[in-house]
């Protein structure tokens, strides 16, 4: 698939300031504010968040497009918001 340029994604959520399970809750709330099909970059810490948040987002019916390793202990997960009934 075409490369995704994170700089072109306006929607952002930063979940590096919270811990599980609020990491997922904060990401979920950010996704719900979008229209179906919109992209968002979710900024998260290494460790537990990057191990678990992508899977929870998938289970909510959203589409994960890319996980970007910022090589500073953080990651950006690029997600396309799913349909409401997904």
């Amino acid at each position: 698939m075409a490369d995704i340029n994170i700089d072109q994604i306006e929607n952002r959520a930063d979940i590096t300031d919270v811990v599980c399970p609020v990491t997922f809750v904060k990401a979920k709330v950010a996704l719900e504010e979008l229209e179906p099909g919109e992209l968002i970059a979710i900024h998260m810490n290494d460790g537990e968040p990057v191990q678990n948040v992508p899977r929870s987002i998938k289970e909510e019916g959203h589409q994960i497009l890319k996980l970007i390793d910022n090589e500073d202990g953080t990651y950006d997960l690029i997600v396309r918001r799913g349909e409401d009934d997904a």
Binding site: Q51, P54, I64, L65, I68
Partner: protein, 289 residues
Amino acid sequence: MAVDYAALKAGGFMRQKQKNTFSLRLRCVGGTVTAEQLAVIKQVADQYGHGYIHLTARQGIEIPFIKLEDIDDVKAALAKGGVEPGVCGPRVRTVTACQGGRCCPSGCIDALDIARKLDARYFGRELPCKFKFGVTGCINNCLKMEENDFGVKGAYDVSYDESQCIDCGVCAKVCRENAITFEDGKLIFDADKCSHCGRCVKSCPTGAWEGKSAFRVYIGGTFGNHIISGKELTPLIKDEGTLMRVADATIDYFDTHSNKGERFGKTLERLGTDELQHILEEAVAGAEA
């Protein structure tokens, strides 16, 4: 008339320190009790016990303070609600299980279903010593399989389909064994490192990773005066038929090789595991035979 305490113990009636008083162990499989069963258990605890139950260390229910003279009435009352007494002593005990893939997002197998099948196959079977089965849904191992004589962990036999992969990189990150790496944008899977936890399958956004339910088996574990951790003596078991053959071979070996009152882990310390391992290899190979 002399009281046959051994028969009562075999039938789940645990003698209490109070004279002619028993704590009645119920038959519970995988820690699952229906609302109908709970209703009759409540009634018996109120009428014949002291109005409470005890949850055992292995997911069972006991009703304490049952009087010797009430035992037959208690059995009859419980039977009306589909509740049977459990067992104690040298035989196959309560089979434990987590909720597994029925409810838990991490589950790789239907742990309760496997526990019920093991219970139906072996429950109460007389053996040289107690024998404990447990089933846990995944490698997270909430039910601590290594402390059972025969512990089953749910797993995934994973496969990767490159054509569906979008190179998102999530699987490489969630893999705790470093079995998945990317080199020049291409995914490399080192199957030898795979623990069959299934995290790649569960997190893959496109279904490029697929997982088939499988089992990892741990044998000869015990927790008590002398703690022994169960050993994995078989490779990944890929179907239920093979699992049951391995269980049959294991329990038959225990039955014929253990001394009276000797836990399986002690037997294996005494005899080594080579012979059993050979027998289990044949049981696994039986699938192709």
